[in-house]
Each structure stands twice: as C-alpha cells, then as structure tokens.
Amino acid sequence: MQYKDYYKILGVNRNASKDEIKRAYRKLARKYHPDVSKEADAEARFKEINEAHEVLKDAEKRAAYDALGSHWKAGQEYRPPPGGGAYGQEFHFDAGDAAQFSDFFSSIFGGMGGGRGHASGAGFRMRGRDEHAKILIGLEDAFHGATRKLQLEVPEVDAQGRVTRHTKTLNVRIPAGITQGQQIRLAGQGQPGAGGGANGDLYLEVEIQPHPFYELDGKDIYLHLPVAPWEAALGATVSTPTLGGPVQLKIPPGSQSGRKLRLKGRGLPGRPAGDQYVILEIVIPPAKDDKARRFYRRMAEEMPFDPRAQLGV
C-alpha cells in the first residue's frame, strides 16, 4: 500500500497546531465538499481530506501516525510492521467513516470490529452506512432508460477486525425520464452492517452529460433550429430532431430569429412529460457568386425594408 502524507494533504507543517489543522481542513472542505464543490475530483479529494483530518485532529491518533517517522514520502510503498502500526492501543472512531478510509489508515488504526479499533465491539448490532455515488449518463439514456454496470469498492471486516476491500459489480436499471440531480436508491447496497445489522443503502445521483445540440432544463429540452429566410417568412413544415426521433414542425409565417416554439410532451418522459422548445435561428445563404449577389440586390430594390426604422436613423 502507499504511504499517505496527511500533513501534505491538508497543506500544513508537521508541527502545525490543532487550530491550524482545523482551519486548513475547513478551507479545503469548503472547496472540495461534494455538496458545494464543482471540482471534477471533489468526491475523492474530500475523502482524502476527511481521512487526514480524522487522524490529525486527534492527539493520540496523530501521535501514532507521527510514530511512523517523517522520512516517508507521499505515495511511497508502505509495509505495515507485523501486528499493525500502533499495536496495543485503542482508537475511537466512527465505524462508517473508518470503512471509507484507505488501507493505509486501516493498517495503523485497525479495523471496525473487535481488535484494536473501538468502533463497533462484539455483539453490537449496527446498520451499515449509506453510500452516495454520482453516475454520469447521456441524454439519450435518460430519455430511453438504460442499464449501467457500476463498480464499487466494498469494505469487509474479518474476524480479527481487519478491513479488507473488494470490488463489487452492480447492474443498475436507469429509469426512462430520469433527470439531472435525481437520486436512485438501491436498498441494501450500501456498506455492510455489523453484528447482524442490516446493510446500508446506496444512493446514485444522476448527472447528465452535456449534449452537442440539446440543452436540458428539468424535464424540458431546448434546441436551436436553423431555418432559411423563406421558411421563416412564408411559413414551412420542417423536420426537427427530438430525443424520440424526428418530427414535422410547423413554422408560422413571419417568424423571426429567436422565436420559441413548443413541442408538447417531446421532452423527457414522465407524468407529466417534459416539453421540447425549439428556438428558431434564421440563417442567410451566403452571397458567394454573382447569381446570389444579383438576387440579393433585386430583393433590396423590390422589397423596401428598413430593419433600423425604430432607431430613428
């Protein structure tokens, strides 16, 4: 396993005071807490920050960690001495937290049940902690529904109270119509319970990937639709993409750029289903040859039109 430099993670000196550690933790937590952070790696960083703080905020745990020596470099291969890093000592921590921490943490402070850890104790029945994870899905999958394979790291406690980890694969149904920020709850798929307690639940929070031409708002979809000047001026029926497949959209005569048309019920499915809003964007054909230029000149002559009339110039 790799050595973790808890001081470096919090960005403090090895002789930092308790207050300095607390301040450093809070500052980093404000930046990386998954509920407030927009950073891509917020979840992993916050876990690491939390683990470092858990050790350094407590004098006994900090002393046990410091006893490993200061010659270690972050990421260096670390082999725990037989019997663990702080043999014979008892440490108090929240079992749910401890199970989320690294192998390096477990090697120093022991596991969750029995042994050196003092979190659960024999005969103590405790429900496993709920887990929260983010799941990234495409807009098409949100519309049609999908099945997703997920890999999760699951901590397991052996009879000696040591924490080991294995990877669990889940096949999860993503219901059609799910939208940004919604949660799927998978009962019993969180952390295992202790002493015969029930497993925790797993919450998957959905994040929808940006789409090249659709924009999502709740269950509504927005689309910019390019139209030719004569389609906008005279009215037309044009083919328009929707997540459910192309539909024929009627453009009313005299439409200007930016006009918003609604395709009722063509957004994400649900009760009620979302709508699709189509925003017209008039695109003019380029005057790239003599024929086109002549045509534009004829329009100017035969169709008096002052687009700046309202500006009084």
Binding site: R30, V172, Q182, Y203, Y222, I279
Partner: protein, 107 residues
C-alpha cells in the same frame, strides 16, 4: 465470470416519491425531534396536520441528507445549515437562469 448479473431496480426519488415520517427518519438517520426542528427552522416547508400525516418527496429527502452532510462536515448549527442550503438553492437557480438565457439569447 460470464455469469450475467441481475439487473437492480432502484427507487427513483423524484417528486412522485412520497414517504411518511417514519420512513424519512430511517432514510436520513434522523429522530422525530430533529425533524420537527428542521421544519421549524424553515429547512423544509411547513407541514399541515399532525406529524403522523406529514409526507416528504424525493427532492426533500435529498435536501435533508445534504443538510446533514453539510452540518456534520462544517460543524454548523441548524440556522447556518438552513442558510447554506438556501444559498446553494439560489446558486442552482441562478446557474439555471444563466443557462436558459444563453440558450434563448435573452428573448
């Protein structure tokens, strides 16, 4: 290793998802007194009827869980937790408005 995994069908916590007091206590690891405090602090909209008749939607469960995580990580009291959640909601609302303004070009 070729064994096909069963497909897990979770519960979608959307607006149509509704649970009572006991279930929300279990889902969020809260007791009744705390939940009543949260309603009084304005963290959740006021509820009519007796607590036994209270119903909570999926987004409200998410809001509660979020509140508890923030309270714990930053050692906040309930008033500060409620303020933080309100400000986060406001940021979300403004981001949404900016996104829509960009899409519709201000029209």
């Amino acid at each position: 290793m070729s064994r096909e995994l069963d497909i897990l069908q979770g519960v979608l916590l959307d607006e149509t998802f509704q649970v009572g007091l006991e279930e929300v206590e279990r889902l969020c690891g809260l007791d009744r007194a705390t939940l009543e405090t949260l309603v009084c602090e304005g963290l959740l909209p006021p509820r009519g009827g007796t607590p036994g008749e209270w119903r909570f939607s999926g987004p409200e469960v998410r809001r509660l869980q979020r509140a508890l995580r923030l309270r714990r990580a930053f050692e906040l009291d309930w008033a500060a937790t409620a303020l933080t959640l309100d400000l986060l909601d406001e940021i979300e609302r403004l981001r949404r408005e900016i996104r829509l303004l960009k899409v519709c070009g201000g029209r």
